[in-house]
């Protein structure tokens, strides 16, 4: 198993390596002089020269890459052109928000998705099955940002029971320790902030959960169906075991592997793909940070964010792989 994990880790390292090359090339591919892009508007020739020197822009491309990569490995993702803040610092400041949102969304998606998937597989062809699968189809066809706006309209404007934007009410003071707001508010026993943070989480995480929910429901259903048709389940049934026992103890246990994998990959995708939800709900996360950077051509931020997200996605996938290997000892490449 160690060998398998090691192999996966190396594969992911290669992926990260290629991502780093792409991110590196980003500034070179973009129209304009890289030094000018890095320096921002209206700087003197001196500063341009200094930047060329610092990033080795006069040297061959390969040398440039190694200079840049050396900095990245030391945690230096450069500074934003717009705000002159360190990109890594900004990303780390925003990441907890994206993480909390994604975590909430994936929990909702898994609970509802797995439950619905199991029921529709057990009652295959029933009204419930059709209903679930239709909803799942709507789920994947729905523009997340529109769903977000509609949720805002219904719960925020018409019913006026939930906040529609931001991470925390502006009037709330919270001592930041880890920057994970839920954690920080518990640590400081600031329950007012805690419940407010939860309230702000509800609508965005529901909006964000729809697509993974649909996928998880579909996968749960199909893998449950696969297993329910297997011989040993039939044997179990023939032995006269209760249907519930068959379903939940035998079938579900075996169907769990693909389900966990899909939950894991979906979670990884959410971490990088919460862009739309974050924009709709003015959520101060990584996604909104990237969109802002792209529209104002803040390349160091785009660059840093890609690497950061690719790293996250790879990391989560690696953990999924490891889990996978634990759950299913048969996997030994």
């Amino acid at each position: 198993m160690k060998k398998y994990i090691l192999r996966r880790a190396i594969e992911l390292l290669i992926v990260l390596f290629i991502v780093s090359i792409i991110a590196f090339l980003l500034i070179r591919l973009a129209p304009g002089d890289p030094a000018q892009i890095l320096a921002g508007e209206h700087v003197t020739q001196e500063i341009l020269e200094e930047i060329r020197e610092r990033y080795g822009l006069n040297k061959p491309l390969i040398t440039q890459y190694f200079i840049w990569m050396g900095k990245v490995l030391k945690g230096d993702l450069g500074r934003s052109i717009r705000t002159n803040e360190k990109v890594l610092k900004e990303l780390l400041y925003r990441f907890p928000n994206t993480f909390e949102l994604s975590l909430f969304a994936i929990i909702i998606a898994s609970l509802v998705g797995i439950f619905a998937g199991i029921i529709s597989s057990v009652k295959r062809g029933s009204f419930f099955d059709y209903l679930t699968m239709t909803i799942a189809l709507f789920g994947v066809s729905m523009p997340v940002f529109w769903l977000g706006i509609m949720l805002m309209l219904i719960f925020g404007v018409w019913l006026n029971i939930l906040p529609i934007s931001g991470r925390l009410d502006v009037g709330i003071n919270l001592t930041r320790i880890t920057n994970f707001i839920l954690l920080d508010s518990l640590l400081t026993l600031n329950f007012h902030a805690f419940f407010d943070a939860i309230k702000h989480l509800i609508l965005p995480s529901i909006a964000l959960s729809t697509i993974p929910m649909a996928f998880i429901a579909r996968i749960t259903r199909s893998s449950m169906l696969d297993i329910l048709n297997k011989d040993y389940i039939r044997t179990a049934r023939a032995k006269g075991l209760k249907e519930n026992v068959v379903t939940y103890r035998h079938a579900l246990k075996n169907a769990f592997i693909p389900i966990i994998t899909s939950v894991g990959t979906e979670f990884a995708l959410l971490l990088g793909g919460a862009i739309l939800t974050e924009t709709v709900f003015a959520w101060p996360g990584i996604g909104r940070y990237i969109v802002g950077a792209v529209s104002s051509r803040d390349y160091p931020v785009v660059q840093g964010s890609i690497i950061f997200i690719a790293f996250l996605v790879c990391f989560v996938n690696l953990i999924v792989d490891i889990l996978y290997a634990f759950i299913d000892p048969r996997i030994r490449y």
Partner: protein, 532 residues
């Protein structure tokens, strides 16, 4: 399994005790009065001399002070850090007698040295702190200052190299707010993020794009502020600002969406403060052939006229400003002296526009771009919307304009660098003198690529001549004549399409009292209080 549960249990208990300790640690509960005011955009920098935009200035109004200030809610001058002043012969020098016993927030004394520092760092290219900023405003309207000298610890003499009629009014401006020299020694190029002044509030923290917190300065020389904590919260969307205000999570906000005015007036918990602002929202053509964004189409005055005729200003003011503004025909606001009311505005006339385009050789129109700022401004509440309305008006006569936008700081940088063909911009006057528009926004002196206040890059020698005359003349009637003449020339040359002069608007919750709007657009919270 059991051990895992045990572990989780232990961790939880640990967290809780940790939390308890932290919580009891800061449990000294005194009722602090906090006022949260929502702004539409973040500050660019917190160095009063290195910014030109209202978002930054309105925050610094509370941290810093100048030698002179405006009397509450007016454009009249009154002493501030200078207790009195004397004008030298010919108006070529001014001596300021400074207030004693004033302290900066960092504990250092306010004295002649700090005044000299605050001025000289802007003026003298060899000053050790000169390189830390661009000091645009200085180059726009303080170049008449020859030098600033210390006479004794509490006396400062400012010598001019030329007569400058608006001089005293400019001394109330943010550019010459007095900063703490010790603070610059400490932070150097980072000082813009750690402002230290003598004002009623001291700086606590700035979380970019989120909020700025100020705290009552206990050592303030004047009447102490009545609120303990002042938070400027950045909420770019006007509707969200209003929602938060209605919920009571914030106490006040700027720039309400005109679409929401009825709602505000109908809400018993809110009150709307308005005042005709000394401002102008305009569309500028880029006439600078040396700029990257120069569009040769606009070289022909007939094309500029065509654009002027094509834009339905009245509809824009009526429906997008919702009547909270008046249509502009001059760069100067109508409430200011020197306004030329004899100018007859070009009317809305798309047919005439088409004709002019045909005459100019573009019967089928042409393609160009129109820049619009991303944030609400006091002179333009929703620039994006106005830009789209103008885009549609222009399309009607055949001019296809692509809309361009950037975040606020970048937008200013790029327009000052002349990267636009046409751009929307505006101005809230920083001192109530026509000079602040005619010289700062329309004089060739202000048309340097990269730091232009004159984003039209309109370089008229006639305007320059008149500006110089007006600056060195002290008789107000004489000066008014020059400004009226300038408005005529500008009306013919059309470097701009003046769009609207809008009202300043802020909304507060009913229990917030003691806040006055200033014609200059400044926000001062030192007299503001919250009624229980």
């Amino acid at each position: 399994m059991k051990s895992i549960r045990l572990l989780i249990g232990l961790v939880l208990i640990g967290l809780l005790t940790f939390g308890l300790i932290l919580n009891t640690g800061c449990k000294k509960k005194v009722e602090l009065v906090t006022l949260t005011f929502a702004k539409s955009g973040d500050v660019v920098k917190l160095d009063p001399a290195d910014v030109t935009d209202g978002e930054s200035i309105t925050v610094m109004d509370n941290i810093f002070e100048g030698l002179i200030r405006y009397k509450e809610g007016t454009t009249e001058l009154e002493p501030c850090l200078a207790e009195r002043w004397e004008e030298g012969a010919d108006g070529m020098s001014f001596t300021f007698y400074l207030r004693k016993g004033v302290k900066f927030h960092d504990g250092t004394d306010f004295n002649a040295d700090s005044v000299v520092f605050s001025f000289e760092r802007l003026r003298d290219p060899n000053h050790p702190y000169h390189k830390y900023g661009e000091w645009e405003y200085w180059s726009w309207c303080f170049t008449e200052i020859e030098k600033t000298e210390k006479i004794d610890d509490y006396t400062v003499k400012i010598t001019l190299n030329d007569k400058f009629a608006p001089f005293l009014t400019t001394m109330a401006m943010f550019t010459v707010f007095i900063v703490s020299p010790a603070n610059y020694e400490k932070w150097k190029e980072e000082a813009y993020a750690h402002p230290v002044g003598t004002g009623p509030f001291k700086f606590v923290e700035w979380v970019k794009d989120d909020h700025i917190t100020l705290e009552k300065f206990d050592g303030y020389w004047g009447p102490k502020p009545k609120i303990d904590k002042l938070i400027f919260k950045v909420i770019p969307d006007a509707s969200v600002r209003l929602l938060e205000l209605q919920k009571g999570t914030i106490d006040g906000m700027e720039f309400p969406n005109p679409d929401d005015l009825d709602k505000i007036k109908g809400d018993a918990n809110l009150k709307l403060l308005t005042q005709p602002g000394l401002n102008i929202g305009y569309l500028a053509f880029n006439l600078g052939e040396d700029t990257p964004g120069y569009d040769p189409h606009f070289k022909d005055v007939r094309v500029r006229q065509a654009v002027y005729y094509a834009i339905n200003k009245k509809d824009i003011v009526e429906h997008l400003y919702k009547g909270t503004a008046v249509v502009a025909k001059n760069p100067l606001p109508p409430t200011l002296w020197g306004y030329n009311d004899e100018i007859v505005d070009y009317e809305y006339n798309p047919e005439k526009a088409k004709e002019l385009l045909k005459e100019a050789g573009y019967p089928n129109g042409f393609e160009t771009n129109l820049w619009a700022m991303p944030v609400a401004r006091p002179y333009m509440f929703d620039p994006q919307k106005i830009a789209e309305a103008i885009q549609s008006d222009l399309a009607n006569v055949g001019i296809k304009a692509k809309l361009v936008t950037y975040d606020w700081g970048t937008y200013l940088d790029k327009t000052e660098g002349g990267e636009h063909a046409m751009c929307l911009l505006g101005w809230t006057m920083d001192y109530p003198d026509p000079d602040n528009i005619m010289y700062v926004l329309l004089d060739p002196d202000a048309a340097t690529v990269g730091s232009a206040g004159n984003v039209a890059f309109y370089r008229s020698s006639k305007i320059h001549e008149l500006n110089m005359l007006a600056r060195t003349t002290f008789d107000i009637n004489e000066r008014a004549k020059y400004y009226k003449e300038m408005q005529k020339i500008i009306h013919e040359d059309i470097p701009w399409v003046p769009l609207a002069h809008s009202q300043q608007m802020v909304v507060f919750r009913k229990n917030v009292k003691g806040f006055s709007l200033y014609p200059s657009g400044d926000y001062h919270f030192d007299k503001t209080y919250i009624e229980k």
